[in-house]
Protein backbone atom coordinates (compact mmCIF):
# COMPACT_ATOMS: atom_id res chain seq x y z
CA UNK A 1 0.00 0.00 0.00
CA UNK A 2 1.21 3.46 -0.81
CA UNK A 3 1.58 5.98 1.97
CA UNK A 4 2.73 9.58 2.32
CA UNK A 5 6.18 9.81 3.90
CA UNK A 6 7.79 12.97 5.30
CA UNK A 7 11.10 13.57 3.57
CA UNK A 8 13.74 16.22 4.20
CA UNK A 9 16.30 15.50 1.52
CA UNK A 10 18.90 18.18 2.22
CA UNK A 11 20.43 18.29 5.69
CA UNK A 12 23.98 19.31 6.62
CA UNK A 13 26.06 17.91 9.46
CA UNK A 14 28.92 19.37 11.49
CA UNK A 15 31.20 18.40 8.60
CA UNK A 16 29.97 21.43 6.64
CA UNK A 17 31.96 24.51 7.69
CA UNK A 18 28.84 26.66 7.81
CA UNK A 19 26.78 24.17 9.88
CA UNK A 20 26.66 24.23 13.67
CA UNK A 21 28.97 21.86 15.53
CA UNK A 22 26.04 20.35 17.44
CA UNK A 23 24.79 18.79 14.19
CA UNK A 24 26.47 15.49 14.91
CA UNK A 25 24.93 12.24 13.62
CA UNK A 26 23.15 11.20 16.82
CA UNK A 27 21.62 14.66 17.42
CA UNK A 28 20.58 14.93 13.82
CA UNK A 29 18.77 11.57 13.87
CA UNK A 30 17.08 12.39 17.18
CA UNK A 31 15.79 15.70 15.85
CA UNK A 32 14.56 14.07 12.64
CA UNK A 33 12.64 11.50 14.71
CA UNK A 34 11.22 14.24 16.95
CA UNK A 35 9.98 16.01 13.83
CA UNK A 36 8.33 12.79 12.56
CA UNK A 37 10.47 12.51 9.47
CA UNK A 38 10.61 9.18 7.65
CA UNK A 39 13.53 9.82 5.32
CA UNK A 40 16.38 12.34 5.29
CA UNK A 41 19.34 12.91 3.00
CA UNK A 42 22.72 13.88 4.41
CA UNK A 43 24.32 16.44 2.10
CA UNK A 44 27.49 18.17 3.27
CA UNK A 45 29.38 20.63 1.07
CA UNK A 46 31.72 18.65 -1.20
CA UNK A 47 32.13 16.01 1.52
CA UNK A 48 30.39 12.88 2.74
CA UNK A 49 32.38 11.33 5.60
CA UNK A 50 29.56 11.75 8.12
CA UNK A 51 26.91 10.01 6.00
CA UNK A 52 27.98 6.54 7.21
CA UNK A 53 27.73 7.64 10.85
CA UNK A 54 24.27 9.13 10.39
CA UNK A 55 23.24 5.79 8.88
CA UNK A 56 24.73 3.98 11.87
CA UNK A 57 23.03 6.34 14.32
CA UNK A 58 19.66 5.87 12.62
CA UNK A 59 19.79 2.06 12.60
CA UNK A 60 16.32 1.12 11.35
CA UNK A 61 14.41 3.98 12.98
CA UNK A 62 14.81 6.36 10.06
CA UNK A 63 15.71 6.03 6.39
CA UNK A 64 18.97 7.79 5.50
CA UNK A 65 19.91 8.69 1.94
CA UNK A 66 23.67 9.22 1.65
CA UNK A 67 24.48 12.27 -0.44
CA UNK A 68 26.55 15.35 -1.03
CA UNK A 69 26.01 18.98 -2.01
CA UNK A 70 28.61 19.59 -4.68
CA UNK A 71 29.74 23.05 -5.76
CA UNK A 72 30.19 22.94 -9.52
CA UNK A 73 32.65 24.96 -11.60
CA UNK A 74 29.84 27.44 -12.27
CA UNK A 75 29.31 27.72 -8.48
CA UNK A 76 25.97 25.95 -8.65
CA UNK A 77 25.04 23.84 -5.63
CA UNK A 78 24.09 20.39 -6.90
CA UNK A 79 22.72 17.60 -4.69
CA UNK A 80 23.84 14.06 -5.44
CA UNK A 81 21.79 11.32 -3.73
CA UNK A 82 22.62 7.62 -3.73
CA UNK A 83 21.11 4.32 -2.61
CA UNK A 84 24.20 3.29 -0.66
CA UNK A 85 27.68 4.39 0.37
CA UNK A 86 29.92 2.77 -2.32
CA UNK A 87 28.83 4.97 -5.25
CA UNK A 88 28.99 8.04 -3.00
CA UNK A 89 32.55 7.15 -2.01
CA UNK A 90 33.48 6.78 -5.69
CA UNK A 91 32.07 10.23 -6.40
CA UNK A 92 33.89 11.59 -3.34
CA UNK A 93 37.21 10.42 -4.78
CA UNK A 94 36.54 12.43 -7.93
CA UNK A 95 35.47 15.49 -5.93
CA UNK A 96 38.64 15.28 -3.81
CA UNK A 97 40.77 15.39 -6.96
CA UNK A 98 38.93 18.47 -8.18
CA UNK A 99 38.64 20.55 -5.02
CA UNK A 100 41.53 22.78 -4.05
CA UNK A 101 42.70 24.77 -1.05
CA UNK A 102 42.79 24.41 2.72
CA UNK A 103 40.08 25.35 5.16
CA UNK A 104 40.56 28.30 7.49
CA UNK A 105 38.54 27.37 10.57
CA UNK A 106 38.49 30.91 11.93
CA UNK A 107 36.89 32.28 8.80
CA UNK A 108 34.74 29.43 7.55
CA UNK A 109 34.19 27.12 10.53
CA UNK A 110 35.22 23.69 11.79
CA UNK A 111 34.67 20.63 9.59
CA UNK A 112 34.24 17.79 12.06
CA UNK A 113 33.89 14.11 11.25
CA UNK A 114 31.87 12.68 14.14
CA UNK A 115 30.73 9.09 14.60
CA UNK A 116 27.36 7.75 15.73
CA UNK A 117 28.46 7.87 19.37
CA UNK A 118 29.32 11.57 19.18
CA UNK A 119 33.08 10.95 19.14
CA UNK A 120 35.25 13.08 16.87
CA UNK A 121 36.87 10.83 14.27
CA UNK A 122 38.83 13.62 12.61
CA UNK A 123 38.82 17.07 11.08
CA UNK A 124 38.54 17.62 7.35
CA UNK A 125 41.06 20.26 6.23
CA UNK A 126 39.94 20.71 2.63
CA UNK A 127 38.40 24.01 1.56
CA UNK A 128 34.91 22.51 1.48
CA UNK A 129 33.33 25.94 1.02
CA UNK A 130 35.17 26.24 -2.30
CA UNK A 131 34.11 25.15 -5.76
CA UNK A 132 35.27 22.13 -7.74
CA UNK A 133 36.55 22.63 -11.28
CA UNK A 134 33.96 20.18 -12.64
CA UNK A 135 31.16 21.53 -14.80
CA UNK A 136 27.56 20.87 -13.84
CA UNK A 137 27.02 18.85 -17.05
CA UNK A 138 29.93 16.51 -16.30
CA UNK A 139 28.79 16.09 -12.69
CA UNK A 140 25.20 15.24 -13.66
CA UNK A 141 26.54 12.58 -16.05
CA UNK A 142 28.86 11.14 -13.41
CA UNK A 143 26.11 11.02 -10.76
CA UNK A 144 23.84 9.19 -13.20
CA UNK A 145 26.62 6.83 -14.19
CA UNK A 146 26.87 5.85 -10.51
CA UNK A 147 23.12 5.32 -10.25
CA UNK A 148 22.44 8.50 -8.29
CA UNK A 149 19.98 11.37 -8.49
CA UNK A 150 21.15 14.84 -9.53
CA UNK A 151 19.10 17.69 -8.08
CA UNK A 152 20.09 21.38 -8.26
CA UNK A 153 19.65 22.87 -4.79
CA UNK A 154 17.53 25.91 -3.86
CA UNK A 155 16.95 27.10 -7.43
CA UNK A 156 15.02 30.11 -6.11
CA UNK A 157 17.99 31.53 -4.20
CA UNK A 158 20.01 34.43 -5.54
CA UNK A 159 23.34 32.77 -4.90
CA UNK A 160 24.77 29.35 -5.73
CA UNK A 161 21.65 28.33 -7.62
CA UNK A 162 21.45 27.04 -11.18
CA UNK A 163 19.24 30.00 -12.09
CA UNK A 164 21.47 32.67 -10.56
CA UNK A 165 24.63 31.19 -12.05
CA UNK A 166 23.41 29.88 -15.40
CA UNK A 167 20.37 32.04 -16.04
CA UNK A 168 17.92 29.32 -17.04
CA UNK A 169 17.52 25.55 -17.15
CA UNK A 170 18.11 23.88 -20.46
CA UNK A 171 15.50 21.24 -21.34
CA UNK A 172 18.30 18.72 -21.95
CA UNK A 173 19.96 19.26 -18.59
CA UNK A 174 18.96 15.83 -17.24
CA UNK A 175 18.09 16.88 -13.68
CA UNK A 176 16.00 14.37 -11.73
CA UNK A 177 14.22 17.07 -9.74
CA UNK A 178 14.65 20.68 -8.66
CA UNK A 179 14.84 21.81 -5.05
CA UNK A 180 12.90 24.88 -3.96
CA UNK A 181 13.99 26.49 -0.70
CA UNK A 182 11.66 26.67 2.28
CA UNK A 183 11.32 30.43 1.80
CA UNK A 184 9.46 29.91 -1.48
CA UNK A 185 7.96 26.43 -1.13
CA UNK A 186 6.62 24.15 -3.84
CA UNK A 187 3.27 25.91 -4.41
CA UNK A 188 4.80 29.34 -4.89
CA UNK A 189 7.63 27.73 -6.88
CA UNK A 190 5.14 26.30 -9.37
CA UNK A 191 3.69 29.78 -9.96
CA UNK A 192 7.11 31.40 -10.20
CA UNK A 193 8.67 28.79 -12.48
CA UNK A 194 5.84 27.70 -14.75
CA UNK A 195 8.37 27.01 -17.52
CA UNK A 196 9.84 24.22 -15.37
CA UNK A 197 6.57 22.27 -15.15
CA UNK A 198 8.23 19.14 -16.55
CA UNK A 199 10.44 18.75 -13.43
CA UNK A 200 9.43 17.32 -10.07
CA UNK A 201 9.91 19.89 -7.29
CA UNK A 202 11.20 19.07 -3.83
CA UNK A 203 11.44 21.32 -0.84
CA UNK A 204 13.90 20.69 1.98
CA UNK A 205 15.15 22.42 5.09
CA UNK A 206 18.79 22.73 3.93
CA UNK A 207 19.34 22.67 7.70
CA UNK A 208 22.58 24.17 9.02
CA UNK A 209 21.13 24.42 12.55
CA UNK A 210 19.71 21.46 14.42
CA UNK A 211 16.41 23.26 14.99
CA UNK A 212 15.89 23.72 11.25
CA UNK A 213 15.67 19.99 10.52
CA UNK A 214 12.22 19.17 9.17
CA UNK A 215 11.17 22.82 8.88
CA UNK A 216 10.51 22.24 5.21
CA UNK A 217 9.34 18.80 4.21
CA UNK A 218 8.30 17.10 0.99
CA UNK A 219 5.52 14.56 1.31
CA UNK A 220 6.15 11.66 -1.03
CA UNK A 221 3.72 8.86 -1.84
CA UNK A 222 5.67 5.59 -1.73
CA UNK A 223 5.44 2.03 -0.47
CA UNK A 224 8.37 2.52 1.89
CA UNK A 225 10.92 5.30 2.44
CA UNK A 226 13.79 3.99 0.32
CA UNK A 227 15.99 5.32 -2.46
CA UNK A 228 14.44 3.08 -5.12
CA UNK A 229 10.94 4.20 -4.12
CA UNK A 230 12.09 7.84 -4.21
CA UNK A 231 13.49 7.30 -7.68
CA UNK A 232 10.15 5.89 -8.81
CA UNK A 233 8.30 8.82 -7.24
CA UNK A 234 10.46 11.34 -9.12
CA UNK A 235 9.59 9.67 -12.41
CA UNK A 236 5.95 9.08 -11.36
CA UNK A 237 6.12 5.32 -11.74
CA UNK A 238 3.67 2.78 -10.29
CA UNK A 239 1.59 5.41 -8.53
CA UNK A 240 4.54 6.81 -6.62
CA UNK A 241 4.70 10.59 -6.69
CA UNK A 242 5.43 13.78 -4.83
CA UNK A 243 2.42 15.25 -3.10
CA UNK A 244 2.41 18.96 -3.89
Amino acid sequence: MLKAFNCDLHIHTCLSPCAQLDMHPQALVQKALDRHLDMIAVCDHNASANAQYVMAAAEDQLSIIPGMEITTLEEVHLLALFDSLPPLLKLQQIIDEHLFGQNDEKRFGVQAIVNELGEVEGINNQLLIGATDLSIDILVDTIHQYGGLAIPAHIDRESFSVLSQLGFIDGNAGFDALEISKRTGIQQGRLQYSELAQYPFLTSSDAHFIGDIGKSVTKILMQEPTFSELKMALSKQNGRRILE
Binding site: L73, D137, S164
Partner: protein, 113 residues
Amino acid sequence: MKVETIVQALGLEVKCCRDQLGKEVTGGYTGDLLSDVMGNSREGYIWITRQVHQNIVAVASLKEHAGIILINSSQPTDDTLEKARTEQIPIMVSDLPAFEISGKVFNLLTSKT
Protein backbone atom coordinates in the same frame (compact mmCIF):
# COMPACT_ATOMS: atom_id res chain seq x y z
CA MET B 1 33.76 50.24 -32.78
CA LYS B 2 33.84 46.78 -34.31
CA VAL B 3 34.67 43.57 -32.43
CA GLU B 4 37.62 43.17 -34.81
CA THR B 5 39.20 46.41 -33.52
CA ILE B 6 39.04 45.15 -29.93
CA VAL B 7 40.46 41.76 -30.95
CA GLN B 8 43.40 43.44 -32.70
CA ALA B 9 44.08 46.06 -30.02
CA LEU B 10 44.04 43.59 -27.12
CA GLY B 11 45.48 40.55 -28.88
CA LEU B 12 42.47 38.32 -28.15
CA GLU B 13 42.41 34.74 -29.35
CA VAL B 14 39.33 34.18 -31.54
CA LYS B 15 37.79 30.75 -30.83
CA CYS B 16 34.93 30.86 -33.34
CA CYS B 17 32.87 32.97 -35.74
CA ARG B 18 35.73 35.00 -37.18
CA ASP B 19 33.30 36.10 -39.89
CA GLN B 20 31.20 37.86 -37.23
CA LEU B 21 33.91 40.25 -36.04
CA GLY B 22 32.39 43.07 -38.06
CA LYS B 23 29.64 43.39 -35.43
CA GLU B 24 29.35 46.83 -33.86
CA VAL B 25 30.12 47.06 -30.11
CA THR B 26 27.90 49.59 -28.31
CA GLY B 27 29.16 48.94 -24.77
CA GLY B 28 30.31 46.23 -22.43
CA TYR B 29 29.31 44.22 -19.39
CA THR B 30 31.36 42.11 -17.00
CA GLY B 31 29.72 39.37 -14.96
CA ASP B 32 29.58 35.66 -14.13
CA LEU B 33 26.02 35.45 -12.84
CA LEU B 34 24.00 34.78 -15.96
CA SER B 35 20.83 35.97 -14.25
CA ASP B 36 22.53 39.34 -13.67
CA VAL B 37 23.86 39.53 -17.23
CA MET B 38 20.40 38.74 -18.61
CA GLY B 39 18.93 41.51 -16.50
CA ASN B 40 21.49 44.23 -16.99
CA SER B 41 23.37 43.94 -20.27
CA ARG B 42 22.14 45.37 -23.56
CA GLU B 43 22.12 44.72 -27.27
CA GLY B 44 25.50 45.25 -28.92
CA TYR B 45 27.49 44.81 -25.70
CA ILE B 46 30.68 42.81 -25.50
CA TRP B 47 30.38 40.48 -22.50
CA ILE B 48 33.37 39.63 -20.32
CA THR B 49 33.02 36.48 -18.18
CA ARG B 50 34.66 33.47 -16.54
CA GLN B 51 31.68 31.19 -17.23
CA VAL B 52 32.28 28.73 -20.07
CA HIS B 53 29.03 26.73 -19.85
CA GLN B 54 26.98 26.54 -23.04
CA ASN B 55 24.25 28.70 -21.47
CA ILE B 56 26.48 31.76 -22.08
CA VAL B 57 25.73 31.47 -25.79
CA ALA B 58 21.99 31.44 -25.20
CA VAL B 59 22.28 34.53 -23.01
CA ALA B 60 24.49 36.37 -25.52
CA SER B 61 22.13 35.43 -28.33
CA LEU B 62 19.02 36.47 -26.38
CA LYS B 63 20.60 39.82 -25.49
CA GLU B 64 22.09 40.22 -28.97
CA HIS B 65 25.60 40.74 -27.66
CA ALA B 66 28.36 41.56 -30.14
CA GLY B 67 30.57 38.86 -28.64
CA ILE B 68 31.92 37.17 -25.53
CA ILE B 69 35.41 37.55 -24.04
CA LEU B 70 36.53 34.75 -21.71
CA ILE B 71 39.06 35.79 -19.07
CA ASN B 72 42.13 34.15 -17.51
CA SER B 73 42.69 31.96 -20.59
CA SER B 74 39.46 30.05 -19.83
CA GLN B 75 38.57 27.72 -22.64
CA PRO B 76 35.01 27.30 -23.94
CA THR B 77 33.71 23.72 -23.84
CA ASP B 78 33.04 21.94 -27.14
CA ASP B 79 29.28 22.23 -26.82
CA THR B 80 29.64 25.93 -26.06
CA LEU B 81 31.64 26.44 -29.25
CA GLU B 82 29.19 24.40 -31.28
CA LYS B 83 26.27 26.50 -30.02
CA ALA B 84 28.21 29.70 -30.63
CA ARG B 85 28.78 28.73 -34.26
CA THR B 86 25.07 28.03 -34.70
CA GLU B 87 24.08 31.30 -33.04
CA GLN B 88 26.93 33.21 -34.72
CA ILE B 89 28.28 34.65 -31.48
CA PRO B 90 32.05 35.22 -31.64
CA ILE B 91 33.93 33.93 -28.58
CA MET B 92 37.34 35.36 -27.77
CA VAL B 93 39.83 34.44 -25.05
CA SER B 94 42.11 36.78 -23.10
CA ASP B 95 44.84 35.76 -20.67
CA LEU B 96 44.03 38.78 -18.47
CA PRO B 97 41.77 38.75 -15.39
CA ALA B 98 38.33 40.39 -15.59
CA PHE B 99 39.41 43.65 -13.95
CA GLU B 100 42.20 44.29 -16.42
CA ILE B 101 40.46 43.25 -19.61
CA SER B 102 37.35 45.24 -18.62
CA GLY B 103 39.52 48.33 -18.07
CA LYS B 104 41.18 47.95 -21.44
CA VAL B 105 37.91 47.43 -23.30
CA PHE B 106 36.38 50.38 -21.46
CA ASN B 107 39.31 52.61 -22.45
CA LEU B 108 39.03 51.57 -26.08
CA LEU B 109 35.31 52.18 -26.21
CA THR B 110 35.43 55.57 -24.48
CA SER B 111 38.48 56.91 -26.33
CA LYS B 112 37.09 56.29 -29.80
CA THR B 113 33.53 57.48 -29.26
